[in-house]
């Protein structure tokens, strides 16, 4: 396999649209290609450029990004083009550059609360629902494919290279999230393929651990959650999801319930302690001013 090795400072000039991009840094590397941070030489705007020697994979990802442009969580795509590198034709797409960290880096630096873990899953799940309704399966979900942009308070799902029609075979996957790697089913695109991977992602977020199929089986994963004292009801739900005997829709409804429960818990807490402290504090402050005012009048 030939590796794509563009050097920093190199220029990529499109064969068709003739736009010129300068390579600034490497953003990521996957099974299909490499993603670079680039600068458009004429507008000075920053973009993300995904390059690969696989024509059909790049073409399909462009089509998917175009098709689902109306979903906020999916990055905008600007153009698709080719260029010649060391006598080979390479194919690329230019997409919106997303500032921030991917979820894998993010959870290394910050602890994610239970509420936010459910929130993230609910967010991703709702995007998947839109895809499912149009007969597509996301396929290659992983922490690295979720970007957190703290500055603009946004979350984006990147890498649509794994999106396939329901009923086709899964083309791209990551073993940690792939049901076939855990001996839990075929690599065929159905709603339940996404259900399995999103549940694994949820376990990652709740437990703070990533499980590898060569080291851990499903049973051991559940055991770990029990040790972490998650509610038996939640563990049962996770078990049913991993065994894929509930629908994606019901999964989403359940997660929404858990999310609201956690949110509500927090609200009571704030009202009970912080708000009452505030009221006492402000009340005594007003009383103090009144006393002072009376003193002055006297």
């Amino acid at each position: 396999m030939k590796k794509i090795r563009l050097s920093l400072g190199d220029y990529v000039i499109g064969k068709w649209n003739k736009n010129k991009y300068k390579i600034l840094s490497v953003l990521g590397e996957g099974g299909v290609g490499k993603v670079y941070k680039v600068k458009n030489q004429s507008t000075n705007k920053i973009w993300a450029l995904k390059v690969s020697d696989d024509l059909s994979s790049i073409t399909k990802e462009y089509d998917m990004l175009k098709k689902f442009y109306y979903i906020d969580a999916i990055p905008c795509v600007k153009e698709i083009d080719d260029f010649i590198f060391e006598n080979d034709t390479l194919y690329y797409i230019v997409m919106e550059y997303i500032e921030g960290q991917n979820l894998k880096e993010y959870i290394k630096t910050k602890k994610i609360s239970i509420k936010n873990a459910f929130g993230i899953i609910l967010f991703i799940g709702n995007v998947f629902k839109i895809l499912h309704d149009q007969n597509f399966i996301f396929g290659d979900l992983k922490l690295e494919n979720i970007m957190i942009d703290q500055k603009n308070n946004e979350m984006k799902i990147i890498d649509l290279g794994g999106v396939v029609y329901v009923g086709d075979s899964i083309k791209e996957f990551t073993p940690n999230y792939d049901r076939a790697s855990f001996n839990m089913g075929l690599r065929r695109a159905d709603e339940k393929y996404d259900l399995f991977s999103i549940t694994i992602l949820m376990i990652n977020l709740l437990s703070g651990t990533i499980f590898y199929p060569q080291e851990t089986n499903i049973k051991q994963m559940i055991q770990k959650l029990k040790e972490l004292k998650f509610s038996p009801k939640l563990i049962l739900l996770i078990q049913r999801c991993l065994n894929q005997n509930i629908t994606f829709k019901i999964f989403l409804m359940e997660i929404e319930k858990y999310y609201k429960e956690e949110k509500y818990k927090k609200n009571i807490f704030i009202f009970d302690i912080y708000k009452s402290i505030d009221i006492v504090f402000i009340g005594s402050f007003i009383f103090f001013i009144l006393v002072l005012y009376k003193c002055c009048i006297k």
């Binding site: 024509l55 698709i80 080719d82 086709d168 075979s169 075929l186 690599r187």
Partner: protein, 243 residues
Amino acid sequence: MNKKKGEIQLEMKQIIVVTDGQSNIGGNPVSAAKEAKEEGVIVNAIGIIDGQADEALWEVEKIAQGGGGIWENTMIQELGQTMHGVTQKTVHKTIETIVGKQLKEIIGTDLENIPPKERSKIVDYMDKVSEEIGIKCCIVMDCSGSMKNKMAVARQSIIELMNSLKGRKGKNEIAIIAYPGKNGECTDMISDFTQDIQKIKEKVFLLKAGGTTPTAAAINHAISLFKMDVSIKEEVFLEESMV
């Protein structure tokens, strides 16, 4: 056979050679790979490495070049994913070549020379064909002494490949050849071509490590499997036509 009219009936034949070292006995694997190519069988090669990529196995690249296939060096943990990827790419390449030829005949140009935005329909069509194409895959697995600690993952990787193939719409067959074989033999046929995932799951446990690395002999054995299949079919048809 339920062939529909106008449906493309294709079959892709591939050998995947998995090795963690250089062949040290029993002929030249590169010329064996060339022979396979002449028989219409693509030879892909995967090198198992322990650490950094710079200790890449050069023989793997040579075998794949000889066999018209692709090569990759990978850690044992990623073997399953690599086998999936290599197969995927080979299917793509095969179909790109076929569709490329058709395009040239019909509109006199390559896919590359069609503007990117207009490629979608052709890519969709290629995708459809690649879902339906029959795949015949012979895994040639290095079971030499140095693979001892890696056999469990290697077994799992073969089952996973079957899981990948079974996800497709087309027909899939897998055969497994181990090298070296038992009792001083060069190769050992673990499983003949089969579509039965259960059979593969049982047979992979026959893969056991120990001995030398006769890569060439193993590739030759794989070629004979593909050939044998054809000759059996011919025999059967001959008998049928005689009756």
